[in-house]
Symmetry: C2
Subunit: 216 residues, 2 copies
C-alpha cells in the first residue's frame, strides 16, 4: 500500500482528504512549511481505520509514494517546483483551484496555462499529473459522520496514473470516482469549483457534485 | 404567461427544453433559418400539458416575450446580433456551449470574452442575459418518460431576470433550478458541459449534474 503525502496538507482541504485516506488504510504525511504545526494538526485528527496521519515538512510529504498538492493556488507551483527531484516519476495529484472573491460568490481565475494542473505539470515534467478532489466541501470531508456521498471527477493524461487514483478514491468512504478524461478538461473541472462554492454561499448549503444517472 | 422563443430551436437541445416548457403550459416557438423545417419539427413533437409548440423563423422566435439561444456556438452571436432590435429589453437565455472534439472526449473552447453568454451579452447590450440549461442530456430532456431529475445551474447579472428563469425552470418537469451567481461564473458553467459529456462518452451513460446536499 502506497504512502501518500499532502503538500500544504494542514489546511481544511488537505485534512479532509487525509482523514478519508487513513480510513482506507493509507499512511498519510501532512506536509507544511511549518512541520511543528503539521505535527500538531496531524495529532489533532481523529483517525478511523488502519492508516496513520503524521505531520512533517513538505519535503517529508514529497518523499511519499504518491503526492497530493493541496496548497493555496498562489504557492502551488513554487512548492511543487522546489520538490521536483523528489516528485520525479511519481503520481502527483493536483486538487488546487485558483479562485478569487466576488460579490457573494467565488470567481474562477484562469492561470496562463488554463489550469493549476497544467501549471504544475509544466514544472513537474517527469511526474504523472492527475487532477482530483476539487469539488468537495472541506468540512464535510473531514467530518466522517457528515454522510457525504460525493463524486470525485478525475482527469489526467497518464491512463495508469488516473486509474490508480480512481481506485484509491473508491476505497475512501463517501466518495465515488469518475474519470472524465484528459488534462484538456482541467480548466473546466477546476473552474466549476467556483460554481459549487458560490452555490453553497448563496444557498447556505454544503452541496457537492453528484453525476446522477451514472451506473455506480 | 409569457411566450418563449428558441433560436436554433430545432436541434436536440432546443427540442428538449421546448417539450418541458410546453408541459409547464408555455407556448413555445422553435425558430430556425428554415421555417418549413421548424414547422415540421414542431408538429413531430408530442406535447403533454397545455403549452403549444410551433415552428417559425428565428425572427418569429425572437418576437416572443422570452428568448432562448440554442443555436450552435459558431452561429450564436451572429444570430443574436441580427435580431437585436427584437430582443431589446427582453430576457435572453443562453444555453450555448462552445466545445470541440478531442480523443474520446469533448474539450471546452473559451471564446475571447470567456464564455458564450458574455459574447452574446456583448452584442445584445439592451437585453437581460441569463445562462441556463447547459448540462442537460438532450435525448433524456426530450423524452418525458426518461425519469430525468436534473439540476439547472443559472447565472446572470440581472437579479430579476435570473429569478424569473429560476421560477420557469422549477415549473418544468424533471428540472430543479439553482441560481449560482453572476455572469462571472459563465465560463465555468459552460465549460463544465464538456466534462459532463466526456463522462457520458467514456462511461456510456446519460448522466447529469445534481448538487447533492442542497435542500430542495
Amino acid at each position: 500500500m502506497e504512502s501518500i503525502g499532502i503538500l500544504g496538507g494542514t489546511g481544511p482541504a488537505g485534512r479532509g482528504v487525509a482523514v478519508r485516506l487513513a480510513c482506507a488504510g493509507y499512511n498519510v504525511v501532512l506536509g507544511s512549511r511549518d512541520s511543528q504545526r503539521a505535527s500538531e494538526t496531524a495529532s489533532g485528527i481523529t483517525v478511523r481505520g488502519n492508516g496513520k496521519i503524521t505531520g512533517g515538512t513538505n519535503d517529508d510529504a514529497a518523499s511519499c509514494d504518491i503526492v497530493i498538492v493541496a496548497t493555496p493556488s498562489d504557492s502551488a507551483v513554487e512548492t511543487a517546483a522546489s520538490l521536483k527531484s523528489k516528485l520525479d516519476g511519481k503520481i502527483v495529484v493536483s486538487m488546487v483551484n485558483a479562485l478569487t472573491r466576488g460579490n457573494k460568490e467565488l470567481i474562477p481565475v484562469y492561470p496562463p496555462l488554463g489550469s493549476m494542473a497544467a501549471e504544475i505539470a509544466a514544472v513537474l515534467t517527469d511526474s504523472k499529473i492527475v487532477g482530483a478532489f476539487h469539488h468537495l466541501p472541506a468540512a464535510q470531508m473531514e467530518d466522517l459522520d457528515s454522510g457525504i456521498d460525493a463524486d470525485v471527477v478525475i482527469f489526467g493524461d497518464d491512463e495508469e496514473a488516473r486509474k490508480r487514483i480512481n481506485d484509491i478514491v473508491n476505497e475512501m468512504p463517501g466518495l465515488f470516482a469518475i474519470i472524465a478524461g484528459s488534462m484538456a478538461l482541467a480548466s473546466a473541472v477546476e473552474a466549476f469549483t467556483a460554481v459549487c462554492i458560490s452555490i453553497n454561499i448563496r444557498h447556505r448549503a454544503h452541496s457537492y457534485v453528484k453525476m446522477a444517472g451514472l451506473t455506480h
